[in-house]
């Protein structure tokens, strides 16, 4: 409201707030023309709302309780994994950033706990500190699926650069779990830590070259490789101990091998198969002597010469394939169906193991070493012939009517539903 100042008569009267009390003040002479109410009325006091925390003008806002407990959990985790203080601080910073990000501010408490684990995991990865996501999940009582979703959400929301896992360092920390020092177990079982790590990493290199490692969870293969390495370092004495026995001897933590026994055995078999294929190329061993359960005795030699053996194995396989191909062509000229079936079954011995699962002209047959998922062909889906449609065709009424219930059906259905709903 614009009045004239009673003191000086000017019309420049402006509104001003003094301690949240409205006043009308003349700009020229400074006199207060009129004032508003300073106190609140009873109706305002009883019906107005308190100022909520997040809109308050408090200069120092206490950090959220959940954030504080998240920090303490995070630091506890860092201590379990023996992270350096700089890494611990980096994890705490990342956790704070992530916690306050809109994508994570309103998620459930259990997910916030997992978020703490994921932040630590990311920092570990950045510094090549070997940690399995599964181990963190085990400590937080979360499975890989939950850890994975939150980890991926974290990297996407904060635009983090993911670093790849360093297999050798993972292996070192993995082998650390197995207590096989001379003073911990009997002489027969003991092995120097570094020797075990070297042997296992050579085996893993072999596994990577022959497609057993790519695309698989690393843990079961690590365990199988450690087992084979341990056996191979003193095969005559250790051959008779099964994988489970070995875990007990080495006092490996239970959670490692309890859950995925089947997968571990599968990986073990795949590794032994590869070793057999290479063992056959050793010039001083008869091919018939190579069996899955005795190949461990030859592992030392195989690992020493693995590069050459790989090349030899592939060369021989190619030669065999060529021979069977040419014999197939000459057979087909005779157009004798019986003999062509015979030549197909005479194909390289590796194929017989799979029982000729792959179709005859599948590209996989040309490779000696192949990811196992290619060899095991699942049941072929029935590929329906693609419909040639324009999208604008006429739709027959009869077809549509076949999808609609008749009157009687509706009555029956309604009756039945009423009866069910009674109970």
């Amino acid at each position: 409201m614009s009045k004239n100042c009673p003191e000086c008569g000017s019309s420049r009267v402006v509104e001003d707030d003094l301690y949240s009390q409205k006043q009308w003040v003349c700009e020229d002479c400074g006199s207060v023309v009129s004032e508003g109410l300073l106190t609140t009325t009873l109706s305002e006091e009883s019906h107005s709302r308190a100022v909520p925390f997040f809109t308050s003008t408090a200069a120092f806002k206490k950090p959220c309780r959940n954030l504080v407990s998240g920090f303490s959990r995070l630091r506890a985790l860092c201590r379990i994994f023996r992270l350096s203080s700089s890494m611990e601080d980096a994890s705490a910073n990342l956790f704070e950033r992530a916690y306050n990000h809109p994508n994570f501010l309103h998620i459930s408490l259990s997910k916030k706990q997992i978020l703490a684990g994921c932040c630590m995991f990311h920092i570990c990865r950045q510094n090549s500190w070997p940690v399995f996501m599964g181990t963190i999940g085990y400590l937080l009582d979360a499975d890989n699926y939950q850890m994975g979703t939150i980890y991926q959400e974290l990297t996407k929301s904060l635009n983090l650069q993911t670093t790849q896992v360093c297999i050798t360092r993972m292996l070192e920390s993995f082998c650390y779990d197995f207590k096989l020092a001379p003073d911990e177990v009997e002489e027969v079982f003991s092995v120097a830590q570094q020797r075990l790590v070297d042997q296992t990493s050579a085996l893993l290199e072999l596994a990577a070259d022959t497609w057993i490692l790519t695309g698989r969870r690393p843990f079961p293969l690590f365990l199988a490789a450690v087992y084979v390495a341990w056996q191979s370092l003193n095969p005559l004495a250790r051959m008779k101990y099964s994988l489970m026995k070995f875990c007990k001897i080495a006092k490996a933590p239970e959670q490692l091998w309890c859950k995925s026994k089947d997968t571990i055995n599968k990986r073990l078999n795949e590794l032994l198969e590869v070793l057999c294929k290479l063992g056959r190329e050793l010039p001083w061993v008869r091919p018939t002597d190579i069996q899955m359960n005795t190949v461990t005795t030859l592992v030392e030699d195989i690992l020493k010469h693995r590069k050459a053996l790989l090349i030899l194995a592939v060369k021989h396989y190619e030669k065999q394939l060529e021979e069977t191909q040419t014999s197939q062509y000459s057979e087909s000229e005779l157009s004798d169906s019986k003999s062509s079936v015979q030549t197909q079954c005479k194909s390289p011995p590796d194929e017989e193991d799979e029982g000729c699962e792959l179709p005859p002209d599948h590209w996989g047959k040309r490779h000696l070493f192949l990811p196992p998922c290619v060899r095991t062909q699942k049941r072929q889906k029935i590929n329906e012939a693609p419909l040639e449609v324009t999208g604008d065709e006429d739709i027959s009424d009869s077809e549509i009517e076949s999808y609609i219930r008749s009157e009687e059906e509706i009555k029956l259905f309604a009756k039945a539903r009423k009866k069910i709903c009674k109970y």
């Binding site: 790519t214 990811p371 590929n383 419909l387 077809e399 219930r405």
Partner: protein, 313 residues
């Protein structure tokens, strides 16, 4: 073994390694060359004849000038096996090597290739001719939405329709299925509908959506067919060689995410076109996130040279 024997053994193995000039698993490439199993010559010739019809109609003026001049040398190179036209994707020139020609063998694993010569086929070169890879991704799923533009009584639809299920406590829509084309639709009370499960063409999805709309009409609602839009297309194919995912994630870090503990495949987020590819060690590739068929083909043509680079290592 005494020292002499060991030395001779070492030299035997060293000779083996020295003799092999290729890195360890290049042997398979050599194999492919010697046992070149050409796919059906009829298939190739039918492709070639269709090619020639298309080239007359193709308008290449939209390509930048440098590309159209580069057409000739590459044409000559590829003419020998595939007889394809000079349709260019974003794939850079230098990555199409001689090895491309060998991989035309692998196309035999894909199912019958149908060039959709329907009126809806645009005249711009979007049809996937066998170009540098010889492999064409097959569409596996198409998701589309349409607005029926009238409020629907889901209970009455579930009562009257044979092929409908409605469980309001679990999900607030009717799930309806038809046999031909085999698809599933989610019908919401607002009148909006999502149609999924159509394979191999956008027209199938449109036909299916129209059938659902017809069913809803027959049930007594004034359903229309507004704003039909393809929301997502999923394709898949097989490059027929195993892929070193660990190597791929190292060189293409900013696009790839490979966590073997979480998922066996590598997730590659391509920027142009904006497609997500799932690449598996067996050589199978799944492409998703496309709004148009051409995006899937383009994405595959972009990734194929990259994948081939990881075959030899």
């Amino acid at each position: 073994m005494n020292m002499d024997e060991e030395a001779s053994l070492e030299s035997y193995f060293d000779q083996t390694i020295a003799g092999s000039s290729d890195y360890i698993f290049e042997g398979d490439l050599g194999l492919q060359g010697s046992t070149s199993q050409l796919q059906d010559s009829s298939f190739l010739s039918s492709l070639a004849s269709q090619e020639k019809d298309l080239t007359e109609d193709l308008d290449l003026s939209f390509l930048p000038d440098e590309l159209s001049t580069q057409d000739e040398p590459s044409q000559v190179e590829k003419e020998s096996k595939n007889e394809d036209s000079g349709i260019y994707t974003d794939c850079p020139q230098k990555e199409s090597t001689q090895a491309d020609i060998d991989t035309s063998n692998s196309a035999q694993n894909t199912s019958q290739f149908n060039l959709p010569m329907t009126p809806m086929t645009p005249m711009t070169p979007m049809t996937p001719v066998a170009e540098s890879s010889g492999i064409i991704p097959q569409l596996q799923n198409i998701v589309s939405t349409v607005n029926l533009a009238c409020p629907l009584d889901l209970k009455s639809i579930a009562l009257q329709a044979r092929n409908a299920e409605y469980n309001p406590k679990r999900f607030a829509a009717v799930i309806m299925r038809i046999r031909e084309p085999r698809t599933t639709a989610l019908i919401f009370s607002s009148g909006k509908m999502v149609c999924t499960g159509a394979k191999s063409s956008e027209e199938q999805s449109r036909l299916a959506a129209r059938k659902y709309a017809r069913v809803v009409q027959k049930l007594g609602f004034p359903a229309k067919f507004l704003d039909f839009k393809i929301q997502n297309m999923v394709g898949s194919c097989d490059v027929c060689f195993p892929i070193r995912l660990e190597g791929l994630v190292l060189t293409h870090q900013q696009f790839s995410s490979y966590e073997p503990e979480l998922f066996p495949g590598l997730i590659y987020r391509m920027v142009k076109p904006r497609i997500v590819l799932l690449i598996f060690v067996s050589g199978k590739v799944v492409l998703t996130g496309a709004k148009e068929r051409s995006e899937i083909y383009e994405a595959f043509e972009n990734i194929y040279p990259i994948l081939k680079g990881f075959r030899k290592q």
